[in-house]
Symmetry: C3
Subunit: 260 residues, 3 copies
């Protein structure tokens, strides 16, 4: 059908891409579902996160096969940040990284959504993971709605992380998309915090916005265009999200059409 | 089990059926999921919509196989209305219809949920699609909550569409079921608008109510019985919806039982 | 990965288990999905409920194969309580139980979520199902938010059911988790009702709490530890729930970490 109808939003970049990233949050797809999902949406996905500590819950043979399937389809795969946070508490970071490499993970998320982590220790861990050959995604923002940080503080954390070796920095949105990072309790973008983060960091393409809700996705595409980096996308929403990036859904089409 | 227990609500019609339609909104099932879904629920489904412009996002070979699977199971399949709206903007309607036929689609949705479309042009396009051999589903109602139309205006649009060649007319409900068509912001039926639409159109069996939310489904079954036409049903809710049509779930059983 | 990182919450019991039960609410998984789900999560599940009257809607051959798959993976499987309630209305209880056994169900839920059922009749039916060889799960609580019962009344119902032959007693939570059983309209636990139920029954391990919402699951784990019995878990949330039981997710990890 795309031979006939031109995408209303042009300029979407293909893989491998440095920006325009889609990161999927996988809470426990089976192997058949994983195959199905990759056959359909692989070219629209860049990173698959096995959420929080789920990787420790999978039967080991299934975990290994799943990771291999994701890698073989040209995607990076990594364990949720909470898992490494537990390794940090238990003083097992080197062992964790080594094991993650053996199991096949290609990326590592460094976060302090739940634990406390000094800037120095954070820097060290990012460096260790990068040196071990992982693509490092770090994450800024606390999971607890009572611990919101200012836009400026988030911007500084972003810049420090990139300097320490992070390839991309995720802004926390959780699975719910409410009351964390740049979102208020209803899941709307908090304009002031958001703009401060943007203007103080100045590295838009290095940020992945966790955006689990449809209105967040369309707002971000409206602000940044089709190649905004987005994360925590449910696996079953990948085709719908790509449609939105291309203006093939009301939520983003309407702005194009009203400009015409 | 149904040999033993009689359905509390009787009179559900089987396939092929002229009313009692279930239209499924598919936002991107993979091939294995599609097969699984059809094996389980095919006899309870009539139309599968590949939502909005998702058909342009599928890898072409997967799209073709998926459409073939749906057709072979005795269901109609069509691209979301937003996709044709884009073709209308781009002045590619004949090419769109031809291509849709080649890919295997058996039905076409004609809508103006996002774009403006004159009554005359709408009539022409419905006629073109019908003449090209498609079952035509047209849709009334805007996607933007600020553009709600009166029940009477919707009724007139329904009658005009049927006269122009539509087989069934869908009343917009979106994926959310809130603030559009006959629903208020909480997803409840707006009684006045709803009754005006019904009394002014007088063609209840030709209307498909988009009803993505469970309470909307049970309310419609309560009003019209087990054979009300409903649309935008998520694929994973087809068995649950059929249970509700038959009174095999609390939401519709309670009314039967209280009458007993 | 679990070789390296110790579960933050220890003491989770394995199968077969008398407590620490996870009951899954299946609204209509296809066969491929069922296989996928069982391969991945079978060791974390104990009971699969084919919700309400869905068992009457499945094509018979698929129903039989599905039940066999679930049993063969070491899980109990039973039809939703609403289904038996209909058989009770239709005076077909013995026939229902016989047919349920033939189809392969291993457990039966006895409830009065929708119908009225005298204490004596309830007792008789629980006894009949137990005598027929089923594991009996009974359920207390009405599905209609206007019919909430006191904690004490629920506690008495729990004790009566256990005495009559129930193996476990479910406290109603519906699919929504709101306005029923121990939950208020927002899905939070109503403290007074809850504590009364607990203190008056004194049989914590015999109760399965329907807890479809994530915050309910983490609250219950916080109160009772990793082996609290929970039900109405969506199939796709089984791995996430097990992660939460083990402290491998922020929602339960934070309490462990703050204690450290």
């Amino acid at each position: 059908m795309k031979e006939i109808v031109k995408s209303p939003i042009q300029g979407r970049v293909g893989k491998p891409r440095q920006f325009g990233i889609t990161m999927v949050m996988d809470k426990g797809l089976g192997l058949a579902e994983t195959r199905d999902f990759l056959a359909l949406g692989s070219e629209y996905v860049d990173f698959v996160k096995l959420a929080f500590g789920t990787a420790a819950v999978y039967p080991p043979a299934i975990l290994q096969e799943k990771i291999a399937l994701i890698k073989d389809s040209g995607n990076d795969v990594y364990p949720g940040g909470t898992f490494l946070e537990i390794a940090i508490i238990q003083k097992k970071v080197p062992e964790f990284l080594e094991r993650a490499g053996c199991v096949g993970f290609t990326a590592i998320e460094v976060s302090d959504g739940t634990i406390e982590l000094s800037a120095e220790r954070r820097r060290t861990i990012i460096g260790m993971a990068a040196k071990a050959g992982f693509k490092v995604l770090s994450e800024v923002g606390k999971k607890d709605p009572r611990q919101k940080t200012s836009g400026r503080a988030m911007a500084n954390a972003v810049l420090n992380d990139l300097d320490a070796g992070s390839k991309l920095v995720i802004v926390e949105g959780r699975e719910s998309g409410r009351g964390v990072g740049i979102y208020d309790k209803e899941g709307h973008i908090e304009q002031e915090r958001f703009e401060e983060l943007l203007s103080c960091s100045g590295v838009q393409n290095a940020i992945i916005w966790e955006a689990p809700l449809k209105d967040q996705q369309s707002a971000l595409i409206g602000l940044f265009g089709p190649n905004v980096n987005m994360g925590n996308i449910p696996p079953h929403e990948v085709i719908a999200l790509e449609s939105m990036r291309l203006g093939l859904r009301n939520d983003t089409l309407k702005s194009v059409y009203q400009r015409d």
